[in-house]
């Protein structure tokens, strides 16, 4: 899918303020936003999801204009059909695993499910290995289990794009490597474009097809085809501040 982002937004956090200035485009299936925390990665992700509104600019995903300040377009989050997995997963704490997933399939006031939809939920519980947890409450789940539920919940809506905010930061190292390969499998299985945030060079190495490097609110470098250029001298020269990547 072609993704094209060009936005500006004034940010105020912890008493300091800066202007997020982000511009890149990608045709790849895996985009990694890389950079130190507080550099504007999460804000970028939130504007794509429609949770925050840029001051100016344009966001186009798969030919669909989601935001355009000049044309006055700002598609509400609920109509964007973009999956968002929050850093702490944001499972609904008052609903069971099964009902969290059901919410995504029928996000209406009564949330009544058809027989086909119930079957689909069973299918997803199976794919994500959470059948045994269907009646469990989110508070009783481990970090890895929560992530699987959050992924199932986001993907059951067949999103056009899946956004992941620091998907592995909160997990212990053993689990991290397992879930990384899990995410690769899931991406292949659903064939959904993924954009994820990380400050871990390992994530970049494993996932990045397009790499977007953030530095203090600005996109400092975009590597359109990271896997091809990985290890090349040219790339090392492009990323002088991040020797770990080259």
């Amino acid at each position: 899918m072609e993704l094209s982002i060009d936005i500006k937004k004034q940010l105020n956090s912890c008493g300091r303020s800066f202007v997020l200035n982000c511009s890149f485009s990608s045709k790849k299936q895996f985009v990694v936003l890389f950079g130190a925390s507080g550099s504007g990665k999460t804000t970028t992700l939130r504007t794509v999801a429609g949770l925050e509104r840029p001051d100016a600019g344009r966001i186009i995903a798969g030919g669909r204009t989601l935001f355009d300040s000049q044309k006055g377009i700002n598609v509400p989050a609920r109509q964007r059909n973009i999956g968002y997995v929050f850093q702490d997963y944001a499972l609904l704490p008052h609903l069971t695993v099964e009902k969290n997933i059901a919410f995504a399939l029928q996000p209406t006031i009564f949330g009544r499910l058809s027989r086909e939809e119930k079957q689909r939920i069973d299918e997803f519980l199976d794919i994500f290995h959470i059948v045994d947890l269907r009646q469990a409450m989110p508070t009783d789940l481990s970090g890895g289990q929560r992530q699987r539920v959050a992924l199932a919940r986001a993907l059951i809506r067949k999103p056009d794009l899946l956004l992941l905010d620091e998907p592995f930061a909160a997990l212990d190292p053993n689990l991290r490597s397992r879930l990384r390969s899990g995410l690769l499998d899931i991406q292949k299985h659903f064939n959904v474009p993924v954009m994820l945030i990380s400050h871990d060079p390992e994530d970049v190495d494993i996932f990045a097809e397009t790499l977007v490097v953030y530095d203090a609110g600005k996109v400092s470098t975009v590597v359109a085809n990271y896997q091809a250029e990985k290890g090349s001298a040219g790339l090392a020269a492009m990323l002088p501040s991040l020797p770990c990547l080259a």
């Binding site: 509400p76 609920r78 964007r80 999956g83 609904l92 995504a104 996000p107 006031i109």
Partner: protein, 217 residues
Amino acid sequence: MTPLLLTLKVALLATAGAMVVGVTAAFLLSRGKFWGRDLAEVVLSLPLVLPPTVLGYYLLVLIGRHGIFGRWLHETFNISLIFTWQGAVLAAMVVSLPLVFKSAGAAFASVNKQCEEAAATLGASGMTVFLRVSLPLAWRGILAGSMMAFARAMGEFGATLMVAGNLPGRTQTLSMAVYDAVQGGDYQQANYLVLVITVVSTIILYGSGKLLQTSWR
């Protein structure tokens, strides 16, 4: 109707009204950013600190025979709320409103905002987010506040006296009956009524405290 039954009827209806108005207002104020937001917050909390007689006076100005709203009610529907039990409901509702409003506001503020955002990215409308996410996550706080409101409405005296009067059998609530009993020297009746109010209020305070002790996460 006996003072006890009338009090229960008035307090229940007043609490229901305060819940609808208080929860709606609290949710809108906790989410929206609009002009006059702070003023609305203050106005809705005023009954907490104003003397009940002042509130009663405001209500008379509003719904009295010559009041702004009262005249319209009288001319269009030939209804007057003054010296009726419905007037007592209105007075008790206004007095207990801040208890629901305040606790609902705190409850909505404590709801994890990301849960509401997650629901939005999953396709839920604002109404669905409110009914299926915000409200269920805030209900303990809302219920605890509503129980306080019920206790407050049960004991309402000043505003009710000014709006609905103290007509035995028609608008005489428990607290009015206590006043009458003491004035008339009927201490047996006074003791009985005081005991009822004290026991019910104690149970309610205990229950609402318990509700607030446990919460999600």
